[in-house]
Every structure is written in structure tokens, then in C-alpha cells.
Amino acid sequence: MNMMEEQRRVALSPFGRRLALAGEGLGWAGIALILYALIHFGSSPVRILHLLPPELTEGVRALDSGAWIAAGLILLISFAVVVWCLIELIRLFAMIRKGDWFGERLERALQRLSIAALVSGFGAIIQRTVLGLIFKPLTPEGKHRLVLQIDSDDVIFALIGIFLALFALIIREARRADDENKGFV
């Protein structure tokens, strides 16, 4: 960390630090829940079916091993993306707690979180379609369908991603203004 970045460290109020710490704690709790869900749902084809939205699994009685592995992999990827989001969020909270909330590191962390949120939002749309295709051979004749579904959660994730990207730009502009201001006496 260069000297200018070091100078930008501004200690938060105790309340702010506690809030950031709570955010970190919630992030870790989220990761723990996801790991539990992975073990719980991944251990049985029937449980995977229960995890998926009913419109995707309508008419599917049981998964064969191929479909189970394929669906498991798809879900694993989506879980991994959510874990990635949470890890970035935890890092962001840690930076804020340590007073590093105006530097380049925070800007990069915001950008990474923004990308993670966008991937999560758009990935979920693709995930449903791919899962629908995996289950297609398992559904009875006449119930085959192509799933193209946009959920409100996907839109919210995408909006959060866009907001975070914009916030990273705002931080950059604020830092530029701060640098400029520092050149004046």
C-alpha cells in the first residue's frame, strides 16, 4: 500500500466498525449455510429435486445418475458464484472495518463484487434454462418445455451489480477530487 493510500485510511466510528463486523459475520454465516446446503442437497437425487423450482421438475419422478451429476454440477456452479459474492462482500466489510474505505483497494473490491453480482443475476437465468434441458428427457411426452424464466431476484442481483459498478466509479471520482484538493493550500 503506497503512502497516499495509507493517508486515506480513516477510522470508522465504533458503531460503524461493529456494523462492518456484523456484515462480515453474516457473510461467514451465509457461506456456512451454503456449505451445509451443498452437503445436504448434494447427497441425494431426491433432495436435489426438492431444491429446484417445481416448474422445472414437473413430471420428473426420479433423476438418473447422469442427470443427477449434471444438475449437481450446475447447482455447484451457482453455489460457487454465491460463495464468491459472499467472499467479496466479507473482504469489503473487512476493508471498511479497518478504515480502508476510500482507496483503490476498495474500488477494486467493489468492481469484483459488482461482477460477481452480475454473474449471479444473469447466471441464474442460464442455469434454469440448462436445468430445464437436463430434465427434458426425464419428463413424460407432452410435458417437454423450454424454460426461459427471469426471476425478480435476477433483476435485483443485476441492479445491485450495476449500482456497485457505479459506486466504484463514484469512489474513483471522489478520490480524484481528493487528490486535486490535496494539491491546494
Binding site: 486535486e180 494539491g183 491546494f184 493550500v185
Partner: protein
Amino acid sequence: MTVEIIVTLDVMLARRKMRSKELAARVGITEQNLSLLKSGKVQGIRFRTLAAICEALDCQPGDLIEFRRGDGSGG
């Protein structure tokens, strides 16, 4: 041809026989910032600072800064 603003604050300080430390205290800026100003290593000076320096040294802004062309001729 380059143009620049030269800070002549040190000349004015010498004329008034005032130390940088005293001026910094009167103006309300740090000695470090005053040193940067004297060496011209700043991007700008706030009107508030300029006014305070003019008051402390009993001078005009033109006594503290000077416009020069790079080829050496005066502005």
C-alpha cells in the same frame, strides 16, 4: 514556449523579516504546506489562504506570485 506562475513568497518573507514558522501560524496552515507553497510544488492556492498571507505580510497577491514565460521574457 512554456508559461508558469512563480511563487515569490520567500522574497516577501525576507523583506518583512518574518520566519516561515510564524507565517504558517498566522495564516493557519502547516509549515509543510507553506514550504510546498514556497517551492511552488502546489497545484493552487485558495483565496482564503492568499488573503491570510497578504494580511500577515501586508502585501498584495501580485507581490507573492509572478507570471513568467518559459523563454525568459517577463509577462
